[in-house]
Symmetry: none
Subunit: 207 residues, 4 copies
Amino acid sequence: MARKKRINPRKSPAQERSRFTVEQIIQAATQVFAEWGYAGATTNHIAERAGVSIGSLYQYFPNKEAILVTLAKRHVEIAGNLLMGLVAERNLIETDLTEVLRPFIQATLELHTGNPRLNYVILSEAVWSAEAMEQVHALEDQFIDQLALTLDTHRQVSVKNSRHAAYIVVHAIKNLAHEFVIHPPAGMSEEAFVEEMVALVGGYLNR
Amino acid sequence: MARKKRINPRKSPAQERSRFTVEQIIQAATQVFAEWGYAGATTNHIAERAGVSIGSLYQYFPNKEAILVTLAKRHVEIAGNLLMGLVAERNLIETDLTEVLRPFIQATLELHTGNPRLNYVILSEAVWSAEAMEQVHALEDQFIDQLALTLDTHRQVSVKNSRHAAYIVVHAIKNLAHEFVIHPPAGMSEEAFVEEMVALVGGYLNR
Amino acid sequence: MARKKRINPRKSPAQERSRFTVEQIIQAATQVFAEWGYAGATTNHIAERAGVSIGSLYQYFPNKEAILVTLAKRHVEIAGNLLMGLVAERNLIETDLTEVLRPFIQATLELHTGNPRLNYVILSEAVWSAEAMEQVHALEDQFIDQLALTLDTHRQVSVKNSRHAAYIVVHAIKNLAHEFVIHPPAGMSEEAFVEEMVALVGGYLNR
Amino acid sequence: MARKKRINPRKSPAQERSRFTVEQIIQAATQVFAEWGYAGATTNHIAERAGVSIGSLYQYFPNKEAILVTLAKRHVEIAGNLLMGLVAERNLIETDLTEVLRPFIQATLELHTGNPRLNYVILSEAVWSAEAMEQVHALEDQFIDQLALTLDTHRQVSVKNSRHAAYIVVHAIKNLAHEFVIHPPAGMSEEAFVEEMVALVGGYLNR
DNA sequence: AATGAATGAGGCTTCATTCAT
DNA sequence: CATGAATGAAGCCTCATTCAT
């Protein structure tokens, strides 16, 4: 009776066929959530778009939220890998801080530009359950920790508390990129926005 | 399907009694939305909490969204007035930039701390209709414009495009305060957060 | 999340109109449960038969089980009143024991004959929740207590423990009547059955 | 709609392996029905508990009901054999009636005590199809017939119609034992219950 | 014989909204 | 203006059963 809401996938697909099914569902969900928002999306719609019966959907996901959580975790992971890759692929000690920041900010912006509505849904619209949030935040925290380490090593960076700084940097970039994509301000180009962001974050790190 | 959704209050309360009713509804909605979120809140629940019949609620608000829009506009207005007041009440030319920023950021943070869940709902959870968004953004834009004017006059501020800068500043502060309140990071006090924000925005404006 | 299952009516009808609605639902449920059994009955079917929208049904009953519980309590009450009335309406001291038992057994049999399927559903098919069962059993226990008192006063009755005897008598009559109606044995008339029952219970009480 | 429901096992297991499979399913079903009730039990759950695929389950049982019917018949058979054995194993003519009844009643009670929930499910909760009922009742009738013969021979028994008496005796004992186990009355021990039953049935048979 | 992925009808229930009183 | 009973579309989800492998 007091059944706690599960948000993790119900069972992992064992056979080839079912792995395909799950992938179809995820792809369909990506589109449907982006088009209709979380509340507007229906599980039946997702199943239909996936070309799969509603029963199959519920074979792998215990409820609607679990689908979004899977999407969210996947996106956070992809984004994290992409961004950490960006940082890792150049010699930070040698590179000018601005030169590290610009591609970083651009990439973040592009991540949101790619499917802004989906990011919107993931970031804000969904009513995250406590557990789901924890899972996504754990990934985010991991990323912040890694960035903090990186900041410590850069000669141009002078901050008292690198973890605090990483927190500020990550969320400033994420949230402003999000804001920019969702409510594009009149009269500011993408390039201009990136430059302002570089100035904002660059000035903060290199005091 | 295409029936355009009204989001403005249905009629303005003319008599004393009805003004009271509307106020009751708004107060109740503030609580209920904050407690249950937008989707979780029901109009019946709001009416009940307001001590008003559901019929009366619909006498003044055409639908659920309109109630939230009313709340949102009110909150944006209150916030705007408060923050503009803060800026206006001191002689900016004379005051050190940091001394202007700190109370500004603190106030923003407090606005979110006061009723974080409601702000969360207003800012993100609600599925804003295009028109509703426009209305709220118009108020936000107004505020940004005023801030841009202020920035132009401060001697310590040196930005190429003051409207761009105002946009960045407003949204950086708003979104980071929001983030901080909603997902408080472990190991960063409110004071520390404010100082980081002052550094972030101060460094940006005073290049 | 851990919402406990309610089985009591959701709200009592205040106005005349709604009292009628509730009555319609109960009447319809009586028929539908009797015709289709508990599992086979659907709330939509009940609402339709009641000439009422499904929403109205759920305004007064939180779920399907609650409807049956209401029926069950009503039936137990009616049966209890009828049977206690039977006992009360004659001077037990004067009457021969058999003369008290026969109408009592006949009435019980008729109660089950009247709507055997509904009794079946109420008595056995429904998956009684613990709380629902308690409520119905409380009424049954009340009846047993009263019967025990009556047994104590009858001169022809000689039992060691009148409450035990009342338990045996009530359930023997109830269950055998139930059995007889649900699975009528070949070659035994209703009259014959009643006489056998009189012999069974009479012999037990008057040892 | 009118597709007649099969309730007999789909095919008899010929090979050793399949006989084992069927046995596993039956054991699992016994547990699952007892734990969850008929409606609450799912075929998938039974298959899983049996360590067998759902497909295999449907290889041997055409539907959920058929599983329960198989259980029911098995239990009626076991019970019948046990009880008839009890009657047969002593010389009835010589034995005092009470001495026959007591172990008989005790055994019936124990049969129900053993797995009360399963008996509950079998006896009442399941929505018996007409055919299924017939099958179970045929076994019950057989038993009643045998008991009637026995009653005819006992010197202490004096009943007009021994088949009627057997019907009453069997169902009185069965239903009261069932009742006692399912809704144990406060303040009556198992021993006390047996004695009351002995008095009830003994008084009836030995008028 | 066994597997288990897939199916989909249909049940229960919610809740924004209307409208007769 | 207020009331609150009534509405019903529509969503989520279950689970018995099938069938390709």
